[in-house]
């Protein structure tokens, strides 16, 4: 058990490293566009200075950002042919710094990537964490109800399937336009967290406002994660309810709810636990959409803006962080397996 869990983690870590490297190598290829974006005043400079001076300025920026080195260990000359660059290259430097926990500095703001990601995570973690907990709890409750085949079984499944089909940004936009729109129902604030961080208010009011701003984003994320879980768990419950021990329990005179809660649920949970490993990375991806729609200053919006501005250190950092979320989720899933299935505990 421990060995297989470790092997899982190692494999996923390796995959994350490979993906981050691929993104790094692909993105750092397009240097010209990057330096032009970093140097926003090039157009002003162009009118006053000569082309030579401009090229010199671009060269200086490349040197400052470390883009003047060759990209990888082996590289291609302008003439046809390959040559060895040695350890003095961008990839080696990036990887070495990464092993020391340094993600580099942002092209755009010049701040350290890790501090920027950290600030953004302070907004994103409450959002995604709450959504994850709510989605899991909601799925547990809803699937148990659905499995007893109430009169709204068909309708409920239909709604869940429809919700599952919709892209997240459509759900988020619909919530925004219906519940935070002065033209329809202005129950919730629309944009950002600006007036929640007002200095003049006392702590309680600030907290209440903060929660108030988070209601709609959390609702959108939860609604996007809920159907997948619920449908899977409901299918597993229905399957298990046909098993012999469920029939015995029914013959004992237990209520359907009692059978599900005390006998069936734990067995049906096992296949669903694998989905936990998908949940955390998926929520990070969902945060990209939700934070852009609701203009929250979190990690998702940081990534989306970095992608629009070609701020590659932040993008690579985001990929690594998502991979980290994946690793954590795998660990969590393995631990949950250990809790849910005594057979695994006995073997280890």
């Amino acid at each position: 058990m421990v060995r297989s869990a470790l092997w899982h983690l190692f494999r996923t870590g390796l995959a994350v490293w490979v993906l981050a490297s691929v993104v790094f190598l692909l993105s750092y290829r397009s240097l010209n566009a990057t330096t032009e974006l970093v140097l926003p005043d090039t157009t002003d400079l162009a009118t006053t200075t000569t082309a030579v001076a401009r090229r010199a300025a671009q060269q200086a920026i490349r040197q400052r950002l470390g883009l003047d080195l060759p990209l990888f260990y082996i590289g291609r000359n302008d003439g046809n042919g390959w040559h060895w660059n040695g350890q003095h290259n961008q990839y080696h430097r990036w990887a070495g710094r990464l092993l020391h926990g340094d993600l580099g500095t942002s092209f755009r703001t010049g701040q350290a990537v890790s501090s920027q990601l950290g600030t953004a995570l302070a907004y994103t973690l409450p959002l995604t964490g709450t959504a994850a907990v709510l989605a899991v709890l909601g799925a547990l409750g809803l699937a148990q109800r659905l499995a007893t085949r109430p009169w709204w079984h068909r309708a409920g499944r239909g709604i869940l399937l429809g919700l599952h089909a919709l892209p997240l940004f459509v759900v988020a936009l619909a919530l925004l336009l219906l519940l935070a729109n002065p033209e329809m129902l202005a129950w919730f604030p629309t944009y950002g967290l600006d007036d929640a961080a007002d200095e003049q208010l006392d702590a309680t009011t600030q907290f209440v406002r903060y929660i108030w701003h988070l209601v709609l984003p959390v609702a959108a994320l939860t609604l996007s994660a809920l159907p997948d879980f619920t449908l899977q768990l409901e299918a597993a419950l229905t399957q298990e309810l046909r098993a012999g021990y469920a029939i015995t329990a029914r013959a004992k005179g237990l209520s359907e709810q009692g059978i599900i809660r005390n006998h069936v649920l734990r067995n049906a949970l096992l296949p669903t636990l694998t989905q936990v490993a998908q949940l955390l990375p998926a929520l990070v991806a969902g945060a990209v959409v939700v934070e852009v729609v609701f203009a929250l200053p979190g990690m998702g919006r940081l990534l989306a803006e970095a992608a629009a501005n070609r701020d590659f250190p932040i993008l690579v950092g985001g990929v690594l962080l998502t991979g980290l979320a994946r690793l954590l989720a795998l660990l969590l899933a393995d631990l949950l397996y250990l809790w849910a299935d005594p057979r695994i505990r006995w073997q280890s």
């Binding site: 993104v23 990375p281 970095a306």
Partner: protein, 332 residues
């Protein structure tokens, strides 16, 4: 493949009403996409009409579905957005399914046990050599061909089988698929699309290359079941080469799960494409798209028509694809 081809009438009339409506809507979208340049639209999608900004639908003028805050006509953007959606998602889904079927089918059929004869290895190395343009590419190609010829001649002369090395096909395919699945597709595409400023072809390739693992897993799982069935053994026993058994006997049965998965995977790609253009990443800004149109609502919240019509199109298309997929999977 493997099933009788129904006439078109049976294809349409053997279905329930929701499926007929779904098929009808999807054909409308397809036709609109194909005919977009010749449709008699009163306005072009990228030409702003600054005299009529943020007009509600069915008002004066010829903007039937209104205009957005930049004076762009909603109807023509919808039509050309359908063109973008079809031009992007349909080929990407087909490419992903093909790639997945080939990779997953091969991985499931040969597992890690296939042996590749030495001449193939030599040719492979030579091809890689040539593709990387290492020194003397032609010399290496010719050398590899000559060496393969020598090996073949020796094998024939001594009447021995060619030397062969094992190719861990299954491990390779599954490792790549797992690697791609580690990070959510949205994050991966966003990260890569930002670096390589892509046109529609690049986007197509990117979407196909990031979404083949799912069909590959399906086909591989089915192939594991199919490869031990009696008819495959019978085909082997008749002396067909493994490649022929794979392509003509095993693969047509192994790709059956894709029939139900194809519309679903297309719906997923449609959602991904519109999400990307909603975020303003990937496609250049002058390409009309439903997602980009929807993003306009954030500048002007009172203009409900900017969000309503593209949302309607998107939701109807995705739900239609889901309904079609359910029909496919409920068939025996």
């Amino acid at each position: 493949m493997g099933r009788p081809s129904y006439p078109l009438a049976v294809l349409i009339f053997s279905r329930s009403w929701p499926q007929r409506i779904a098929l009808g809507w999807l054909s409308v979208v397809l036709l609109t996409a194909a005919l977009a340049p010749v449709l008699p639209l009163p306005y072009l999608p990228n030409v702003p009409d600054l005299s009529q900004v943020s007009q509600p639908p069915f008002s004066i003028g010829k903007h039937w579905l209104g205009t957005d805050s930049q004076g762009l006509d909603i109807l023509s953007q919808l039509v050309f957005g359908a063109r973008t959606a079809v031009a992007l998602t349909l080929p990407a889904t087909v490419m992903a399914a093909l790639l997945g079927a080939i990779a997953g089918g091969a991985a499931g059929f040969w597992l890690n046990q296939s042996r590749l004869a030495a001449p193939y290895w030599l040719l492979l190395v030579a091809c890689v050599w040539w593709a990387l343009s290492l020194p003397w590419p032609w010399l290496v190609l010719v050398g590899a061909a000559a060496a393969s010829g020598c090996l073949l001649a020796i094998a024939k002369w001594r009447q021995r089988p060619l030397p062969a090395w094992r190719l861990p096909l299954d491990s390779i395919v599954m490792a790549i698929a797992t690697t791609l699945d580690t990070i959510p597709r949205l994050i991966l595409v966003v990260a890569i699309a930002a670096g390589t400023s892509v046109a529609i072809q690049g986007m197509l390739l990117l979407l196909a290359l990031t979404s083949w693992p799912q069909p590959a897993r399906l086909v591989r799982a089915q192939m594991l079941r199919v490869r031990v069935l009696p008819f495959v053994e019978a085909a082997r026993a008749t002396g067909f080469s493994p490649g022929r058994v794979w392509l003509w006997h095993a693969l047509p049965h192994a790709v059956q799960p894709l029939r139900a998965a194809f519309p679903l995977s297309m719906a997923g790609l449609l959602g991904l494409e519109s999400t990307l253009s909603f975020l303003g990443i990937g496609l250049p800004p002058n390409v009309a798209s439903w997602g980009r149109l929807l993003a306009g609502i954030r500048h002007d919240q009172s203009a409900w028509w900017i969000a309503f019509f593209p949302c309607l199109c998107l939701i109807t298309s995705i739900l239609s694809l889901y309904i079609l997929s359910r029909h496919q999977s409920s068939q025996p």
